[in-house]
């Protein structure tokens, strides 16, 4: 373990500093979150680099980036609130309004759209909306914070085009969707069920996902291990490798013990 890592560990144990006791930011975020913030900051040579993960951390508490969240980050990083706000508005993953228990992101970039992604998105908006008024981008069915509430958004290419059309729930993949399968999925979520992603760990909720994006995975090592081992074996991913195996195709064999090239010592 090197110094940087040592620092990260010990920083988390330090007694709380200023931001924790600051009245304007102290109520929403408890001591544990302040400790986590310090741990995030200690990962980087310069504190400001911690801003993106800190904003994920803030969302793990409130489900969006609130005024208090901005103050929290500003105090921890010694930035102005305007500087933090400027960053928040730049990135689509930072939500300006409270997000539902689950965030459903449907890829509507061209490739997915051509294979039905637009239709999936449209159906979900209609299905989750009130009669005659479909939900719009980043709108929520149900009350944020309550079980079964769902925020919907259209997303850009999610790097899973070979599995199109795709959507994500709390940033876990549901591949090869259709309007019907997507409706079934959100109905289950509305009922408090958590269907298994095609690729990814069992669903929790948006806030827990944000905590993981801030770099905090479950403390329980068994839980952590099983999350990591959760499936990813999409046939599409391994198609080339499988075909090669079936046909006996390989890369050229590597020679034994090739030396590194000689270079003149300067």
């Amino acid at each position: 373990m090197t110094e940087a890592h040592e620092q990260a560990r010990s920083a988390a144990r330090e007694p709380s500093v200023d931001p924790a006791t600051d009245p304007s930011a102290g109520e929403v975020f408890d001591a544990d979150i302040h400790a986590k913030a310090r741990e995030v900051i200690a990962r980087y040579p310069q504190s400001r680099s911690a801003l993106l993960p800190l904003l994920h951390l803030v969302q793990s508490v409130q489900g969006y980036v609130s005024r208090e969240g901005i103050t929290f980050c500003a105090r921890h990083l010694d930035l102005s609130e305007a500087e933090v706000s400027g960053v928040v508005t730049f990135y689509t993953m930072y939500k300006r309004r409270p997000c539902g228990q689950h965030l459903v992101s449907v890829c509507t970039n061209t490739l997915c759209a051509a294979l039905g992604g637009d239709a999936v998105y449209r159906r979900l908006c209609e299905h989750l909306g009130e009669e005659g008024r479909p939900l719009g981008h980043e709108e929520t069915a149900g009350t944020p914070g309550e079980q079964g509430s769902i925020t919907i958004e259209h997303a850009e290419c999610l790097a899973a085009c070979d599995l199109a059309p795709v959507l994500q729930v709390n940033y876990e993949y549901f591949d090869n969707q259709s309007p019907d399968s997507a409706v079934e999925l959100v109905d289950a979520l509305r009922n408090g069920d958590k269907p298994a992603p095609t690729r990814g760990a069992p669903l929790t909720d948006f806030r827990s996902a944000e905590l993981q994006l801030a770099g905090f995975f479950p403390d329980d090592s068994e839980q952590s291990r099983s999350d990591v081992d959760a499936p990813t074996a999409a046939e599409e991913t391994v198609r080339g490798a499988r075909l090669a195996q079936d046909r006996g195709w390989t890369a050229p064999a590597m020679p034994d013990d090739v030396a590194l090239p000689e270079v003149e010592q300067k």
Binding site: Y91, M93, V238, G240, V258, V263
Partner: protein, 438 residues
């Protein structure tokens, strides 16, 4: 002549629990790093130069040459930053790579950092891929515990720390200088070059940014050597490459083949066009690379071949569209993407993508005119080469190439609009023309 598919990076993906350290070690994992750490940084830079490894993030810059730009002394801290922001539409290779075989990237990071005298490495992963973050973070922890990371790695005296960092949803952060700003906790806006990152990158210190696939290839070159690597691919574009095939084919997926493979060959591997519906257009390397058509089935897909045929190899993201898909519609969709992702720093791109999207939306909505086609090309002219970063150039690629190969389709759409709007106010055209089963 190599086999049609040459699994190197993708070789371990079929193994159960391929992402675990134990699996990796059973399958030659962490052997290259031992060999590399016995050599010198100069030897490794020279190896990668001689192998001719070119960047897999889109631009194809020779990796060894880039590494050679890093200062030879250690007066300042050096940084290695891995670009795992994978956001170019169509591109879907780095995320599966990191999920299936994260240790190959980590081993590549150790070797590359050693070659560049860097002791800190950041892996910047796009935020929307939680499972990838999870796998990668777990692999980094495993590597620390096993002594592959941290101080005095394998008794070599070399120290390296890796930090996995999640982005927050912005395509532009894949551009390397925007990525560095983002990693510094700022809005992800591109920086003026020069200075190049090797002189002044992260925290204004010497920095190299490389793509995931580039760095994951490094351990194999260390073990196999220059001749082995060059036995695949072409003279100027050597090695294997992960081709990501998506869209209207029978078996979309990841196919790792020697550089220079053609779409005809790849389609054959992917089971041909879905339901036999003929090919209409495709991208060789993501939406920022000009479209190809059925005329280009035999273009060798390496950096030179794609460029000679008027496009670019990009990320070898082959999005395949059949005859049912409207070109103006597809072009409109991509343009909306660029409008959304333009960072707004420079006027040609910010304003250009806005106007381009608006004109295309109007056309697809049934209210376009023939003059609109010329206006589109005019605006493209004002964006191409005049934008601050390559996003602007990429944004016009689908439009100019779409009009180049399918002008008649744009024209017909506008003429059809002219007649129908004489009768009504138009607006119905969209349902007739879509890309899709809607």
């Amino acid at each position: 002549m190599s086999d049609p598919i040459t699994p190197v990076l993708t070789k371990r993906w079929l193994s159960p629990n391929s992402w675990r350290l134990s699996t990796y070690e059973q399958l030659e994992g962490y052997t290259a790093v031992r060999k590399a750490l016995r050599g010198t940084p100069e030897q490794l830079v020279s190896l990668i130069k001689e192998a001719g490894l070119r960047g897999r993030g889109g631009a194809g810059f020779p990796a060894g040459v880039k590494w050679g730009f890093m200062p030879k002394d250690e007066e300042k801290p050096h940084y290695l930053v891995i670009n795992a922001d994978e956001g170019e539409p169509g591109t879907c290779k780095d995320i599966p790579l990191m999920m299936a075989d994260p240790h190959s990237l980590i081993e590549g990071c150790i070797i590359s950092a050693y070659a560049m005298r860097a002791h800190r490495c950041f892996i910047y992963v796009r935020g929307e891929v939680l499972h990838c973050m999870r796998r990668l973070s777990a692999a980094v922890s495993e590597a620390y515990e096993a002594g592959y990371l941290g101080s005095d790695i394998l008794g070599s005296g070399f120290d390296l720390d890796i930090t996995v960092h999640a982005g927050a949803g912005a395509y532009i952060c894949g551009e390397e200088t925007a990525l560095l700003d983002s990693l510094e906790g700022r809005r992800g806006e591109p920086r003026l070059k020069p200075p190049f990152p090797a002189a002044s990158g992260l925290y204004a210190q010497p920095t190299t940014v490389n793509n995931v696939e580039t760095i994951a290839t490094v351990p194999f070159i260390v073990n196999g050597g220059v001749d082995w690597f060059r036995a695949m691919g072409t003279e100027k574009s050597p090695g294997p490459k992960i081709y990501s095939i998506s869209g209207h084919v029978e078996h979309p997926g990841q196919y790792e083949a020697p550089l220079g493979t053609t779409l005809r060959e790849l389609l054959d591997l992917a089971g041909g066009m879905k339901d036999g519906i003929p090919l209409k257009f495709w991208t060789p390397g993501g939406s920022s690379t000009p479209l190809f058509t059925a005329e280009h089935l035999d273009v060798p897909l390496d950096f030179e071949g794609a460029a000679e045929a008027g496009s670019m190899l990009g990320t070898t993201a082959l999005m395949i569209f059949n005859e049912t898909v409207s070109v103006p519609w597809a072009v409109m969709k991509w343009t909306q993407f660029y409008r959304h992702e333009s960072c707004g720093k420079c006027t040609p791109c910010r304003e250009g993508t806005y106007w381009l999207a608006q004109i295309l939306e109007r056309m697809v909505d049934g209210r376009g005119t023939e003059e609109d086609i010329e206006t589109l090309l005019d605006v493209c002219d004002n964006v191409l080469g005049r934008s601050f970063c390559a996003l602007g150039d990429g944004a016009v690629s689908p439009i100019t190439s779409g009009i180049q190969y399918f002008r008649s389709e744009f024209l017909e759409l506008c003429r059809q609009n002219a007649t129908s709007s004489a009768a009504s106010s138009g607006g119905d055209a969209q349902s007739a023309l879509v890309g899709a089963q809607s």
